[in-house]
Subunit: 215 residues, 3 copies
């Protein structure tokens, strides 16, 4: 029997909203770079912000998904679209800020995804898989819709899915032990967040299969 993790729900809620906004911004700004119109901006912002969580909820049977019961998951992306529509030249210059927000979203969503999967009775490896999917699923769907190669697969991209998978793994381990969960969960989020930022700063990349020939 898994030990239920006690989140600081106020903090978790706040971080979830930050993550939703950051993911929506990454979708809206990609739409601007692709020269899409307002509708295209809304499509990409919404799919990036809620895509991962909707897939997780459909798989674990949390129906309707949180994105369709808590209206802030839809309003925040629409607000991000409105903001980007007028302020995108400024936001593009704030590209670094978007990456920081996005790292926060990654950290929050891998944790809330794994936690929710455990609450719905999934085993450790499925919970890790779903936590990672919650964090990276929206971005994958954003890139597929925009007809780009998914960023997390792109050759030469910095670690993205790996920090999320590590964060989800830590949460699954923590859930086996009683203790000061709120603190440990917070530290896990900070760890994922910093790991992603360090990966960006120092260009840390995933290991590549060993090659015997050039090509």
């Amino acid at each position: 029997m898994m030990h239920p993790i006690i989140f600081n729900t106020t903090l978790e809620e706040a971080l979830n909203l930050v993550g939703t906004f950051a993911f929506a911004e990454s979708g809206a700004l990609l739409a601007v770079r692709k020269n899409y119109d307002l509708v295209g901006m809304a499509v990409l912002a919404l799919i990036t912000a809620i895509g991962g969580g909707v897939i997780r909820d459909v798989i674990i049977g949390a129906i309707p998904p949180a994105a369709f019961t808590d209206a802030s998951y839809l309003w925040i992306p629409l607000f991000a679209v409105g903001l980007t529509f007028f302020a995108h030249p400024l936001l593009n210059r704030l590209n670094a800020a978007v990456l920081v927000f996005d790292a926060a979203g990654l950290a929050v969503f891998c944790i809330s995804g794994a936690t929710k999967a455990l609450i719905y009775g999934l085993g450790p490896l499925p919970a890790i898989t779903l936590g990672t999917l919650t964090a990276v699923g929206g971005g994958i769907m954003r890139d597929i819709l925009a007809h780009d190669q998914p960023a997390i697969l792109r050759v030469g991209s910095e670690l993205y899915a790996l920090p999320a998978a590590l964060g989800a793994t830590i949460i699954v381990i923590l859930a086996r032990f009683p203790g000061n969960d709120s603190l440990m969960v917070g530290l896990t989020a900070v760890f994922v967040f910093l790991l992603r930022l360090f990966a960006l700063r120092y260009h840390w990349k995933g290991p590549r299969p060993w090659r015997t020939t050039s090509h």
Copy 2:
């Protein structure tokens, strides 16, 4: 408490079948243009015709989705494939007719999608989102499978998702008031249908984010 919309179910059923056929045709004809074989035609026709509705039903918990309980949602696309297999040179010349059918499908599906979401207890904004998704989801999946940029995002494309979103919004507003719903719903469908056709005719496009620099 939402007021249940009273559809003219015979009319709704008839329009749903027209929309399914039109969407299937757009998939089958794209497969022909891409030089796919019969299997590829069936894949694109089915995904275009039932894709949006299946996603909606999975999200609201209408399991199994209507496309897998009412066999006409599968037979009609297969019929469209058979027809296209032999008559595609004719159908290609009827491109304008396909666009008119497609506009009918768009009008019907945004309404039936929003209505079904309301019936399953979703709030206004989620119902509008799902109504729009029902109308445009199949076409997006068609384009992704065919390795094209999704038509609704393409630069310079005429309004498509916006009429659907407006139609779903009107339905959500109507659902708050008792009255002659059947007539109002019919008028909404006509409005979406005509708005899409006018957009095609006069090349109405979505607003684009304000640019300060050329590029």
Copy 3:
């Protein structure tokens, strides 16, 4: 009322594991060819191996999907990734073996997909559709994530979805008659398997819509 098919569950389980491994290998090897890192290999291996089954389970309401309750559906792809990471030059030379494994997976998954759909009460045509989708869905998602045109749609590709659809159809017909099901199901699997291999060997392709003009 449908007659429940009596599988040899040991055999079915063994074939399912072979199919899962084969599909995972096809994903991992594609990732190597695309020069992805370890994370990209895991993403493609997992999506190919479990993608089709997860969509089937979500549609029929088998929640959580088998891939998230039976851990071997996740461990086998991860094992395939580890193997490929070190041994991919060897595995690439074993390309023919991968195609044979993949044909086994195709045969198993179209049968188990159609059977599960029948058990969950779906009608004949929906069960055939879902059986086919179970067999080809993972490969389609693999190709979309890798930013390739889906292999089953590619011009000039050998029969792939058609053997799966035939296998699912035979299963649906068998389910209407009592009898030595285990033998018949086994023969169906062999039929699909051989049909796919013969199609590869003799370049059997799907029928193409009749053309009146060159282009």
